[in-house]
Amino acid sequence: MRRYVRPMIPVIILYLTLLLVGLSSESRWQPVAFIMFYIALGQALNMFLGMTGYVDFGYVAFLALGSYGMALAFSSFSSLGLWVILLGFVLAIIMSSLLSLAVGAIALRLRGAYFAIATIGVNEGFRYLVEGVRLWGGSEGIIISSTMKDIFGSDLSNYISTFVADIMVFVIGFIAAFLTVYIINSRIGYALMAVREDEDAARVMGVFATKYKIMAFAMSAIFAGLIGASAWTLKLTYVFPEDVFNITYTVEAIAIVMLGGAGTLTGPIMGGLIYGFLRYYLSTVLPGFQLLVVAPLLVLIVTIFPEGVMGYVKRKVRNTRFEKYII
């Protein structure tokens, strides 16, 4: 039990601090929610990239399908009342996991760079499919704001999209952290670690590599779908294909995981914190130039900490009494 609880302590402290800072004044909620999105995104991708070492350049497609899942719940099942949100999350899980199984079954047979290239095609292909055959509203997307007002009334709708959606991202990120601790301590975690370090060696030791890779891929996809459903559809109240299939989010997610430390629990949280913070405040200080500043800063940090910030910390606390807390 202690091996699950102790690593969660720094996570809980970070989450609580962030939550309290956000609730302390109204003007702080928006930046905190912005940062929280990146933290949750990093944690979701870390389950796959961090655990297996495989880079998925089509990752945003899972967020996109999740956000469509929520939007479809509103556009097709508005009679359900408040339950429509639950249905939305269920649809998000189903759609993103189905895509991950389909992609995984084919693309996870490829290794390294070949996998990365194959997955770029998935995202772009899916986007053109949606726009081309006018699936789910085609390029006009799905707008749920009026349906939301009809179901919940305008006060509650407002509350949902400005507060509840953000809290949901918080919760999703926290569950992702808990699941990560569980995986790291389980047989699945050992199997994935072996696969990441040396896939051939893992296989001759009896690890069913493909099975575990697909499991990690599907879990990671489900969390991405949940984030898309809440941080995009519930919060923004619309889904446009060019927004949700935007490859920028994939690149940001990869940067966050690498920055914080791939395969660690606290890494993507720290990575999301640093990345989200830089992006948000640089865009207020140097509007329009934020990416220009963020990029060299990221290069700098990654040069100093090649295993990511928390990867570095983890190495430093090895054989000290903090070792059990930082994983």
């Binding site: 047989r187 050992y190 199997a191 670690m193 072996a194 370090e197 040396d198 051939d200 060696a201 296989r203 001759v204 030791m205 009896g206 690890v207 069913f208």
Partner: protein
């Protein structure tokens, strides 16, 4: 123990093996020799299931295992020491060994296995906490073999365990293999470039060229064949 019949396989469209027949008797050390690119590693990878056989048959312990994936074969008591050792360089010696006991059956016997392995390789016990990547070449090879033993195999395939090792260390590795057979009753299929070492260690030898078995027999007989002497020993 193992019987390979008319095995053919290759990589995408390039065929490497053109009908390999090999038989490994229980508790024997069987060696496969041959020049670079002959298909030695490919043969082992196909037997382990890392590479799908195109045709032919692989029988293990009387069962047809031709199309089984590697993890099922590990459960049946097969394992392989890969060429180039493939250790987890950033993990300690002990962690490497523990990873070797991954399968359900091996996990239960882990403590016992560790004891066996440490008594076979006392140096690994001494270096328990050291990172695998910092061991010497010979120690790394010992660790690779030890990690394979942690899976509690009855049959081990080794791909060029003497690669890059000093002659005296090569002898140590070969002695170890004999010990595995004598003390643990393990059957061994060994691929070697080091001709003298493998002729000395083996009970039976296959010579592969261009994806075919060109001759086979007891080492004492093969060593006298003119072709073998000329091609492999230069005498």
């Amino acid at each position: 123990m193992l019987k390979v019949e008319k095995l053919e396989t290759g990589y995408s469209s390039m065929q490497v093996l053109w009908g390999i027949d090999i038989q490994v008797e229980k508790k024997s050390i069987t060696t496969i020799m041959g020049p670079n690119g002959a298909g030695k590693t490919t043969t082992l990878r196909a037997i382990m299931g890392m590479l799908k056989p195109w045709s032919g048959k692989i029988m293990y312990d009387g069962k047809d295992v031709t199309d089984l994936p590697p993890h099922s074969k590990v459960d049946m008591g097969m394992t392989m020491v890969l060429e180039g050792r493939h250790l987890f360089g950033n993990m300690s010696v002990r962690e490497n060994l523990m990873m070797g006991a991954y399968s359900e059956k091996a996990k239960e016997k882990m403590e016992d296995s560790l004891e066996i392995v440490y008594s076979l390789f006392p140096i690994l016990k001494e270096r328990e906490e050291q990172k695998a990547g910092t061991l010497s070449g010979g120690q790394q090879q010992m660790l690779a073999i030890a990690r394979a033993l942690m899976a509690r195999p009855e049959f081990i395939m080794l791909d060029e365990p003497s690669q890059g090792l000093a002659p005296i260390v090569v002898d140590q590795v070969m002695d170890t293999l004999k010990k595995l057979r004598e003390e643990l009753g393990i059957t061994i299929l060994l691929v070697e470039q080091n001709v003298m070492a493998s002729l000395k260690a083996g009970d039976y030898t296959y010579i592969i060229e261009n994806g075919r078995v060109v001759s086979h027999g007891e080492p004492s007989r093969l060593i006298d064949l003119k072709e073998v002497r000329k091609a492999y020993l230069g005498i």
